[in-house]
């Protein structure tokens, strides 16, 4: 780029080309946001600009609020369980030696190797047999399992990067291992916790395949599933306006979280690179 900086013409060309490139990535998002408010015959917003498409979305089948609530419940269960399991597990792997430690850690990472579908079909049968069919809790449990390789790995390296002297001092002072974890270590691994929580939320909020297989009652569906189903519902005519509105509702929390927590986001990706 050194040459580009020296020559104003080349700099201009470089700025123009990369500007177009950036626009290609932003255009679909901007277009969808605008479309969701713009008038189009045959949608909830047939004349003038407004929130007609969002009203249509709100009134679709069980209603936007039900689907939003379902998505929030699944996300909440997944984030809470993922945090509890991966913090305790990461602590165990980082600070204790116990029989089967490496086998359990490898088994946890092995979840990554198995195709989603390979596990979801038997999980469908298993959840049915224990009365968790069509259940948001069931989806949350399954999504937590899928989050574990990343989360346990992330928490393990977070705990391992804390100097052992820190918790040893607390243990010597007579703290139990749990209060050492709670009062001394948790504040030290806060960035890891935020990263794990963020990725668990995004995974649960956006997941499509697990709810598709595990939920079949219209009133239990999560938002991605409901928006996808909406396309084929209205007498074979696809309501593109309401679909755009649905995409906006799905995307806004993710984009906001991304912009606010970009640092943690990148940290999460980086731990992926460490694995290799």
């Amino acid at each position: 780029m050194a040459t580009a900086r020296r020559n104003p013409l080349l700099t201009g060309v470089f700025l123009a080309l990369t500007g177009v490139l950036g626009a290609v990535f932003l255009y679909p998002l901007v277009w969808t946001a605008i479309t969701s408010f713009s008038p189009r015959p045959g949608t909830g917003q047939s004349e003038g600009w407004g929130i007609g498409n969002y009203t249509a979305l709100a009134e679709f089948q069980a209603g936007l609020w039900t689907y939003l609530a379902n998505s929030f419940i699944v996300s909440l269960i997944t984030v809470a369980l993922t945090l509890v399991v991966s913090i305790l597990g990461g602590y165990a792997f980082a600070r204790f030696r116990f029989r089967g430690r490496n086998v359990l850690f490898m088994a946890t990472l092995a979840i990554l190797m198995v195709p989603y579908a390979t596990l979801l079909i038997p999980l469908y049968v298993i959840l049915n047999s224990v009365g968790l069919q069509n259940s948001l809790l069931g989806v949350g449990l399954v999504l937590t399992m899928f989050q574990l390789p990343f989360s346990v790995f992330m928490m393990r390296i977070s705990f391992e990067s804390v100097p052992p002297e820190l918790d040893e001092a607390a243990l010597v002072d007579g703290c139990s291992t749990f209060s050492t974890l709670w009062r001394v270590l948790l504040p030290a691994v806060k960035p890891g916790i935020i990263t794990v929580g963020l990725f668990a939320f995004l995974a649960a909020w956006n997941d499509f395949f697990a709810p598709l297989i595990l939920l079949n009652d219209a009133s239990r569906m999560t938002l991605p599933l409901a928006v996808a189903n909406m396309r084929s519902q209205v007498m074979g005519v696809i309501d593109y306006g309401a679909t755009s509105a649905g995409v906006v509702v799905l995307a806004v929390p993710c984009i906001l979280l991304f912009l606010v927590l970009q640092r943690h986001y990148i940290r999460g990706f980086m731990s992926g690179a460490f694995k290799g």
Binding site: F98, L119, I121, P122, C254, G272
Partner: protein, 302 residues
């Protein structure tokens, strides 16, 4: 690392038996999840693949190897395998090429480049299903911004097998390029400046720098990207389920779509779906093992 752990265990002075017990106590939730939601389903899918297991009536007893024979004889099996491999190859080449190219382009920390980086990264914040729904509207011959183009040319983006394939590939490139760019950036940052310094002193050209310094040192990153991208490509589901539903004429039917269809849409045959799942698992493990071996060997020679 093990020595560190050993020394802490000794320093803490707890009896070894007790350390074991406490360690297990903290690991128990992980073990419980892995056992009940991973190991047990894995065993069950093996049993399913060797059993007559209709969706609604449940297990009807062993029938090995009927499901596997049926899987290979399924009229869409080889077509789906071929399409999935083709799709995975195209997506992998594009994502790795663009990821690396863009990483090199935005590597420096100027304001414009960091803006550019954010723009390329924003789509990767979206869920895959959301992104697919977005492009479903964008590609629409009625509501999309390219409706005029489709009308003028008399085709639709998703109407022909080739069009449907490349429209989906574009969606995936849009959604995932930022992710691969970021991984490549992390890899590039890991290359010490001194190596380039040495290259400069030896009078290496920019291309020589890239070919003989950047690429070899980026090898682990490229290996990781390859494994992720090929695995993702071979397991493609949402993007096709939402955009093309496998159409037109099953031309974009992937292996996972086939598994889903066999299990829950139409055939309702969990035994056959289980057999297909086991085959997919074996293929994936074999491919990833081969890739890791291929990337490890030259390193050992050095």
């Amino acid at each position: 690392m093990t020595t560190v752990l050993k020394s802490t265990a000794v320093k803490r002075g707890g009896a070894p038996g007790r350390r074991h017990a406490v360690g297990w106590l903290y690991a128990a939730p992980t073990a419980l999840f892995v056992l009940t939601l991973f190991i047990v389903p894995l065993v069950l899918v093996l049993q399913m693949s060797a059993s007559d297991w209709p969706l609604l009536r449940g297990n009807q007893g062993w029938n090995f190897p009927d499901n596997f024979v049926e899987a290979f004889d399924h009229r869409l099996f080889w077509q789906a395998v071929g399409f999935t491999v083709l799709y995975a190859a195209i997506v992998t080449v594009l994502l790795l090429g663009l990821g690396l190219g863009l990483a090199l382009l935005v590597q420096e920390a100027t304001r414009w480049k960091s803006l550019l980086r954010t723009a390329i990264l924003v789509p990767s914040a979206l869920g895959l299903a959301s992104a697919a729904l977005l492009f479903y509207v964008l590609y629409s011959p009625q509501a999309g911004p390219f409706a005029w183009l489709m009308e003028a040319t008399g085709t639709t983006f998703l109407g022909t097998p080739t069009g449907a394939l490349f429209s989906t590939v574009f969606l995936m490139v849009w959604r995932f390029t930022g992710f691969y760019m970021l991984l490549m950036l992390v890899g590039l940052n890991g290359i010490p400046e001194e190596v380039y310094e040495a290259g400069r002193i030896d009078g290496a050209s920019r291309w020589q720098n890239f070919r003989y310094i950047t690429l070899p040192l980026l090898r682990p990153t490229i290996a990781l990207c390859l494994v992720l991208s090929i695995t993702g490509g071979l397991l493609a589901f949402e993007q096709f389920y939402i955009l093309t539903a496998g159409g037109p004429d099953n031309s974009t039917m992937t292996v996972v779509q086939l598994i889903y269809g066999v299990a829950f849409r139409g055939q309702n045959d969990l035994g056959l779906a289980g057999a297909l799942s086991v085959l997919a698992l074996l293929a994936l493990v074999a491919i990833n093992a081969a890739q890791l071996r291929a990337f490890r060997r030259p390193k050992e020679e050095n």
